[in-house]
Amino acid sequence: MSTATHDTKREAPAKPTTPVGKAADYLDQRTSIGVAVKEFARKVFPDHWSFMLGEIALFSFVVLIASGFFLTMFFEPSMALTTYEGEHPANMHGQLMSVAFASTLDMSFEVRGGLLMRQIHHWSALIFMASIVVHMMRVFFTGAFRKPRELNWIVGLVLMILGLAAGFSGYSLPDDVLSGNGLRITDGVIKSIPVIGSFMSYLVFGGEFPGHHIVPRLFTIHIFVVPGILLALIALHLFLMVLQKHTQYPGGGRTDKNVVGYPAAPVYVAKMTGNFFIVAGVLTLMGATMAINNVWNYGPFDPSPVSAGAQPDWYMLFLEGSLRLMPGQGTEWVIGGFTLPLNVLVPAVVIPGILFTFLFVYPFLEARVTGDDKEHHVLDRPRNKPVRTGLGVGFLTAFIILALAGSNDLIATHFGLSINSITWVFRFLLFVGPVFAYYITKRICLGLQRKDRELVLHGHESGRIVRFANGEYIEVHTPLDEQERWLRVNYEAPAPLAIAPKTDARGVKRKGYGSDKRWQGLSRFFYEDRVEPVTPAEVEAAHSHGEHDELTGSERQTVEAGVGTTSQEH
């Protein structure tokens, strides 16, 4: 019987009459798409400008795919040698060059809109990496990587590394002098790898550098392998984001158990579509007005010339800087007749290894030293996690110093400084700068937290100076409204881990005590210094022991001294 009623129920709604209704009915009968529409159409997403940063990365990627498709129609990934027959640019006419370089010239000078697409593609790649990095900074500093999002942080990191691979492989395709020297540096780095380095070099280049295989190989990597994996992982990244629902900034009514924001349809559909077109529009504007990578000025690859002041794309600068800073003296070791060039291995492999390892392990490390197993959906204000924020700024400082070191020749020529002294300053700064930045940032965070306490306890300075009958002057403070107060008190200040004692009740040494002790040490590093949020009791206490920042009834009769220009602490 139950099936019969079910059937009649199903037939109860009238047959769709409009074309849209009919199409929807057709589709739903075959795909049950109604379930998905019901789930997603009014799904709520929190709103904040910083949630747009990841979108910029996504949309730059879409622009990269679209402009990249255009370029593949005209680019020929071949290193066969040819004489350039084109009349323009005049300085290239009649030169011997690879087909790859010739087709790059051809698509720039003969294909209408070709140069525009090349420039859009290159600018998009730069913005793609930049928005990924800034998006990661947002995620890091607000603690969005915490449970349950650790896995999505890892997916994001892999996406960033793939972005580097995509940028590097694409940059090398035109086979010009600059990119050729970039490949040559890569070859030098590969050769420095112990035991297998020489064979790795042969594996990459299909023989000795440069050979005639590298451009077609990079082409396949650039247009098939890397974008394929990128697409799959972007899908996973977004799937996890939707499944776990987006994080939200702290505020009234926002908890770890809800999502406060606007519905996907129509608000986010309109905003995201709008954002896509704005990103695409700005990238087009950049491609239209700002020349980038004019390869005809450099010429086709030739192993002999190189120009000073040549820079890789910005996201590779940290590696370049790392190579430049390493002192060469005494850093190449010969062990049993085998050569170990640490002057290349350390800056090109070990230093980036340390940087990336930090990013990969940080979410797990922080959860461990916090003793934290809860789901977090409300973001942290960076000041409320002083050590995390300090470590993040220290990390960025190292990255920026390395990137600046990658431009030390430009700094030298622009500011008329000695390249040797700049290099020495950066060598020194690479070690001192991050520690200093960490310390300062942590102190600033603690200071801001104290300021929050001060505000909650005593209110805002109003600028109104009041004189009492006894001659005392005070400044009147305005108490915080409950929304602002909530923003400043709604956080956790975890204490360092507590561990079980060294010996158990019978005085037997406990197994695992040493490891616990080390974790506790690390936990102390994170949470020894902390500022706890104000409690209602403290506010009450502050008001009851004779604070002058509020005027009571009797005091209201006192004479106002007028508004002072200096706001006076009392």
Partner: protein, 356 residues
Amino acid sequence: MSDNQNPPADTSHEVTVTPQTGNAVGHAERFPDPGIPEHKHRLTDTDPRAAKRAERTVTFLFVLSILGTIGSIVAYVMVPPDGTTSGVRLSTLLIGLGLAVSLLGIGVAGIHWAKALMGDKEMVQERHPLASDDATRADAVKDLNDGLEDSGVVGRRGVLKGAFFGALALFPLAIAVPLIGSVGGDWNISAFKHTMWKRGTRLAIDPSGRPIKVADVTVGSVFHVIPETTEEFRESHEWITEKSKAVVLMVRLNPEDLRTDQSPEGETWSHEGIVAYSKICTHVGCPVALYEQQTHHLLCPCHQSTFDIADSAKVVFGPANRRLPQLPITVDDEGYLIAQDDFAEPIGPSFWERLK
């Protein structure tokens, strides 16, 4: 003074603590959540004229986008690049500006529409814990166990399992072996250790290939040098690969300025102050091309390794560890500069088997 709980700032660590006891009687541990802030209406919600204005702005932006598209196509047709750099730039600029207006028009219109005219009342949805509930987990484990049970291999048929995993592990070899076998060409890495220089090869000017006479080399002059070879060879791939190892920088110093070179006891590798060094940096292989005449220093523009030409090209600064290998040169009967032999050591960046 306001924060009495703070200990002095000079202690090694500090905790600004909430007192848990004392006059806390009658107070909650924490402040209550005040709830979502009151919704504030926008101007377009309350003033129909403002709403109408926003509607007109959005419409105008979409029309602007259409005009941008048209402009872009007009630019494509009317301003073809004439092939010169400035012509290409103009065409790029006009097509690009049209396209940018077309895209930005849609983008700005969409966002303005969403912000000014679409609902802006915040909504709340519940989150649910991500972990599946215990019953579902139990079912899942049971299903998996049932599946394993049905497979009939749990705890038995070890040989079958071994064969299964063995087959799976081995079959990729049938693809990997031919791939790895061929992907590195002939895998003859000893080629790193030799260049095309040999006894009697004339030094020639890069890129023209014209051999160099001693008489042409004045004191203080710098030559970018390649080995002399046929014009035909210089238009082949092999040449680019060989040239990548063989390029040399040759300088003529005042013989009294040349303090030392790399000649071993009893040999002379330079000729009347003319020295020739490999141009491939011993750091990671960039061409070391910037020569400073006053100091006799040679600078690599990539990573700033600096070599002293007057002192056997030893490293004076930067990330390189080894001096540039010297090409032993002399003069033949006709007065041309020639190589005495190949470089005595491998040129370019270091690698594991370099000294083997």
